[in-house]
């Protein structure tokens, strides 16, 4: 196994609300290897963004509290660091890109100035050097005639171009880890294809590790080396991209994949649905958090919460179905997932 760049252990992040402490993520453990992409997938409210904000320790500014766990980045525990110390890591060794490129950029500065600012701040470059490098970065992220574009304001650029600018800013400091939170959700599919290609290309060229957060199983299939599936604040299944798609094990993952209408085969029939709705984080069911919606629920599921159970090579699921002899009842269910 390759060297781990980031290793998160039992990360639990909570928010103090009127109704008491609510755990938005519950004992998250994940690891990202050097030069690899981990995709965190899940539906809205599953805790994907809270996880990424916790890793950046930006959660402190959103009234979140890290209750337990460690975030090991290159041998240092980010949970124990002070915000001042983190400032030299954030935007330097770890960068982040957000969902909405238009609101991530400052409307009153030109895009060139915004890239240059990041270079001056983190790398102590002179004004001229920074400007020259900003133009090079714009060229690298595939913006045509970068000298002209650098002098323009965000509102003069399209959504796809703005996202390229945001990526350029994130890459300015040559980070080792790039956290991308739904980077293509606000974009049209043909532009999404361009941005995904760009990220893939840069990852190969620069050897950057990527933590990609997405709700789109299609994006995950295309980009990921490893996938972690989140449900109601916990990672319920984790494994290599091939394992997750060829042998989805947790009933939630299976249901999620089956709910997607396909591009081939039969159409117009009834779609698979996961019955019920996602539980409120402050009011999780006892035992397995998926048990009220699970088609395979057993008595044990209603009482005891399952831990990670190995179901394949580097493939774990939090599900009692796999307790004894690994692949049991639900295995093979993934066969009829549409392409």
């Amino acid at each position: 196994m390759a060297e781990k760049l980031l290793e998160v252990r039992n990360l639990t992040t909570g928010f103090l609300t009127e109704k008491g402490l609510v755990k938005a993520t519950d004992r998250i453990s994940l690891a990202i290897e050097k030069g690899k992409t981990l995709c965190l997938v899940g539906e809205s409210g599953s805790g994907k963004s809270v996880t990424s904000m916790s890793i950046m320790r930006l959660i402190d500014y959103a009234n979140g509290v890290i209750l337990e766990g460690s975030i090991n980045f290159k041998g240092e525990d980010l949970v124990k660091k002070k915000q001042e110390e983190l400032r030299s890591i954030r935007g330097n060794k770890i960068s982040m890109i957000f969902q909405d490129p238009m609101s991530a950029l400052n409307p009153v500065f030109t895009v060139g100035e915004q890239i240059a600012e990041s270079l001056r701040l983190h790398q102590n470059k002179s004004k001229d050097e920074a400007w020259k490098e900003a133009i090079e970065l714009l060229r690298m992220v595939g913006i045509p005639s970068p000298e002209i574009r650098a002098k323009q304001y965000p509102n003069q650029l399209s959504g796809g171009m703005c996202q390229r600018v945001v990526i350029a800013i994130a890459l300015a400091s040559k980070p080792e880890l790039l956290i991308a939170d739904e980077p293509t959700t606000a974009l049209d599919v043909t532009v999404q294809a361009q941005i995904l290609d760009l990220l893939q290309d840069l990852k190969e060229k620069l050897g950057t590790s990527i933590l990609l957060i997405t709700h789109d199983m299609g994006v995950a299939a295309e980009m990921a080396d490893h996938i972690a599936v989140m449900y109601a604040g916990a990672i319920v299944e984790q494994g290599t991209v091939e394992e997750i798609f060829s042998n989805p094990s947790h009933p939630y993952t299976v249901g999620l994949l089956q709910s997607i209408p396909g591009f081939e085969g039969e159409r117009g029939g009834e779609l698979y649905t996961i019955k019920g709705t996602i539980p409120a984080l402050g009011n999780l069911p006892q035992g397995c958090r998926f048990n009220p919606r699970c088609p395979h629920v057993m008595d044990k599921c209603r009482q005891v919460e399952p831990g990670d159970i190995q179901v394949g090579d580097e493939h774990y699921a939090k599900c009692w179905l796999f307790e004894e002899n690994g692949k049991a009842a639900v295995a093979g269910k993934g066969d009829n997932i549409h392409g």
Partner: protein, 335 residues
């Protein structure tokens, strides 16, 4: 074959651009530019395209939520844009819309029973008691718990609110419903529930749908025929399965290839389009797609192609459609 319920003929919708001290009109945003289509009774017509292509505007013009600059729309044989206000109001019983945003489309100060019951109050002479009974019936039809009818929209989840919007749309037993991105804002597991509901209602009530969406896999699942729009123009229309399997227009091919498929083993050959969609205020000459088309030839920048049938059940607006004799050849693309 079923008769045509909706006939759209050469519809144009221009939004004027005003500028300067005197507020002169200096140009037009051509949101919908000369589009024709027909929807048969009981079918679902899917309309796809990227943001800004005019698909939502077309949907609104069809229902006369916006007036057309030119052209006519006939629903059930009557020209919607020629009706008087009173006639139009009557006509609205037959045509309804479901909106995208389940949060923005419901009045937060109305109880759910008032949201669903309002069309009945306006269009029928039902008593309050009859309306209440109908609201209960409607809520059961869309899978909502009728005991919750005395609550406000904010007490419902996104998927449930979309069901409220659907109950409101079917309250008057319409013939024709425009679903404008009705499932786009929902998570996949909720999305599949709402899609199943729409298809069930269509079967039970014999509804005709214009299903506007950018999610191409959803459109494939629900639609009988599909129209693809680009920059205000209809570039391709065809039977769903054949259109998805063998797209004729290079834009359709690129659009379909751009969707990431939930299967890591199928690394598809993707046509990555260069650049962005041009401005609809100043669209390119000739074929509007020629600036981004990997197969563009000289003729494409000069002569605008007309939408015409090239195969049975398949229409395309392209001088060199893919897979047609003398057309574009996918295998010649450098990837």
């Amino acid at each position: 074959m079923a008769k045509n319920l909706v006939e759209v003929n050469n519809v144009k919708k221009y939004f004027p651009i005003h500028k300067g001290l005197l507020n002169r009109v200096v140009g037009n945003v051509k949101a919908v530019d000369d589009v024709s289509l027909t929807i048969r009774e009981g079918e679902t017509f899917g309309l796809v395209g990227e943001s800004g292509c005019g698909k939502s505007t077309l949907g609104r013009v069809i229902l006369r939520l916006q007036s057309a600059t030119e052209g006519s729309v006939k629903i059930n044989g009557r020209d919607v844009h020629a009706l008087s206000n009173r006639e139009l109001n009557k006509m609205r019983e037959e045509m309804q819309i479901i909106f995208q945003d389940p949060f923005g489309s419901l009045n937060p100060r109305f109880l759910v029973k008032d949201v669903i019951g309002e069309p009945l109050k306006i269009h029928t002479k039902m008593s309050a008691k009859e309306i209440d009974a109908r609201v209960v019936e409607l809520m059961e039809m869309v899978g909502l718990d009728p005991t919750r009818r005395n609550r406000y929209p904010h007490e419902f989840s996104g998927g449930q609110r979309q069901r409220i919007g659907i109950a409101r749309a079917i309250a008057l037993k319409p013939k024709f419903i425009v679903a404008d991105e009705a499932v786009s804002a929902l998570d996949v597991s909720v999305q599949s529930q709402v899609i199943n509901l729409l298809m069930k209602l269509q079967k039970e009530m014999g509804l005709t749908f214009l299903f506007i969406a950018h999610g191409l896999n959803v459109v494939r699942h629900i639609s009988d025929r599909v129209g693809v729009m680009y920059l205000g123009k209809m570039v391709e229309v065809g039977e769903t399965e054949s259109l998805y399997a063998e797209p004729l227009h290079p834009y359709t091919a690129a659009l379909l290839s751009a969707i990431p498929k939930p299967s890591p083993t199928k690394k598809r050959s993707r046509i990555v389009l260069q650049g962005d969609v041009p401005s609809p205020a100043n669209p390119p000459s000739g074929c509007r797609f020629h600036t981004r088309c990997p197969f563009a030839q000289e003729k494409c920048s000069q002569v605008e192609p007309k939408l015409q049938e090239v195969k049975p059940g398949r229409e395309v607006a392209c001088h060199f459609p893919i897979g047609v004799e003398g057309g574009s050849d996918m295998s010649k693309l450098n990837r």
